[in-house]
Point group: C2
Chain length 307, copies 2
């Protein structure tokens, strides 16, 4: 079965000090699906849009072998629209507008053919919808989940329910501290593991990522980028690369999860080097593997036996 | 020739939420010398104290094969005294008092026998004193330098002079941004390299450290510590481990500098696990090497050829 991806689909307005773009296909599903499409396919997306998507938007997804049978298109409806403007240092983002539109009443319906999916990635949506998706799966085997501070702060009970049912939670450092009420990230990860997920990935932006398994930690470096053009979607690209690689290899050992984290970091690094989804649209397998090897070289050191 | 270390020597009062200690031997030289003593010796320290050191203080140094011939003891003088109190999360420290005492007029005099030292570590002291030390060396070959925001802000011209004469600058992330006036650490390192040092090490605390060489970057992970008892001296322990290992191996290749960074991180991790200098007082070579291997396991991942 294919990899199932459920999340938001949006039309974005993005402005940075370097460029701006209107009506760009965005949302967590778009970035996740593009990133994972380089590893496995067809990935199956479930989401909702209005009838205002361009043919180019659909074509971009189809060009990446993304199965859109689970895309609900609401006649006369408008797609979720999001506008933001980044400050000079790109660490601060002002939301210009959030128009939920058809996303406000999103009720994910997993197509019959996808209910047997054993791998699913629950993008950053309401935790009740994430649980709803899991309810529709016949025999889920490996579930990766994203979330954000908004759900931690406002819908903790719902989030705790879904956390009991997922294998991996991907979260950033400030969200991990918020969810665990613990400033030390090592302790925070242990507390979150006690909530359900076997594995926790804590993303630390320019400082890389940590993967926590059972009494084991893996520290992945960040790619040393001099210039970031647009941070939008980096976390989703990470999740897509991570889950896509795992789905392709079907190896759930900790050693392979480590490689998956590096492939996730690889896809995130490509994502932020160009505007909007452009960094994820035209990659080759060779480029991706070369960057994986760069990550390896970046953190590699050899033991010596002299001491 | 031995490794030469020049810096401050202090009597510390340290208070954390977990413990407190009075009259503890501290200062950059003490932590550096202890950390480096596990790799090479006798390390030669140059510094100034009053006649108020206890025999226990001197004995602790001598027990670690630290050569104190370069220690100026000022009769009737008082040793530099420093008191601080850490807040609950240990990231914030209030200085309770700073009594420079004999350190105020410190004029480092390198003993005749140490002037041929080819390896030196200039601890965090006034950059003019750092230059003064270099002036006294016959034929310096490899110089490692530490500094801090105080000198960057107030004595930039002096600092820039010494930077032209050193091989490695060890600095933390906020100091690197301050010195380079550049928020991106990759660009910041390049700017600082243009000031003189061939290698820049940027320490990032819980996020590890970056080593920058000529067009090469190495990313070292941080040791995943659940509990830090006292951060005092961690940076000096890093510098001591790094330089001690290089002095011992006399291999200045980038590959060996990477290992040295990990040995530096190793010594810093031991330092913060106990109070004051206690974490550096009773280590074994085996313990140190085991932790080095833990660092290796923490960041190791293997390539796969399936993609």
């Amino acid at each position: 079965m294919g990899l199932l991806i459920v999340g938001s689909i949006a039309l974005d307005y993005i402005e940075t000090p370097f460029d701006k773009i209107e009506n760009a296909l965005g949302g967590s599903t778009t970035y996740i699906a593009l990133a994972s499409s380089y590893f496995t396919g067809p990935v199956q997306i479930v989401g909702v849009v209005g009838d205002d998507l361009d043919n180019d938007h659909i074509k971009m997804l189809e060009d990446h072998n993304i199965d859109i049978d689970g895309l609900q298109i609401i006649e006369g409806g408008k797609t979720f629209r999001y506008g933001c403007k980044y400050h000079y240092d790109l660490n601060v983002r002002d939301t210009l507008y959030t128009e939920l539109n058809v996303f406000e009443s999103f009720n994910p319906v997993i197509p019959e053919k996808s209910r047997k999916s054993r791998f699913a990635l629950l993008g950053n949506i309401h935790p009740d919808l994430q649980s709803n998706v899991l309810d529709q799966l016949d025999n889920p085997h490996f579930i990766v989940c994203d979330t954000m501070n908004y759900w931690i702060e406002g819908w903790l009970e719902s989030l705790l329910k879904v956390l009991k049912r997922v294998n991996v939670l991907i979260i950033n450092d400030s969200e991990a501290r918020l969810l665990s009420q613990e400033p030390n990230l090592i302790k925070a990860a242990a507390k979150i593991q006690a909530m359900g997920p076997q594995y926790i990935i804590i993303k630390k932006g320019e400082h890389g990522a940590l993967l926590f398994g059972e009494d084991t930690v893996f520290s992945a470096p960040a790619y040393p980028l001099e210039d970031i053009f647009d941070p939008t979607g980096a976390g989703d690209a990470f999740a897509g690369g991570f889950t896509g690689y795992l789905h392709k290899t079907a190896d759930l050992s900790f050693e392979n999860l480590k490689r998956a984290v590096v492939y996730g970091s690889t896809m995130a690094s490509f994502c932020v080097q160009k505007f909007s989804t452009k960094g994820l649209e035209k990659l080759s397998t060779l480029q991706i593997h070369d960057r994986f090897l760069e990550f390896k070289e970046l953190s590699r050191f050899d033991d010596d036996v002299s001491i």
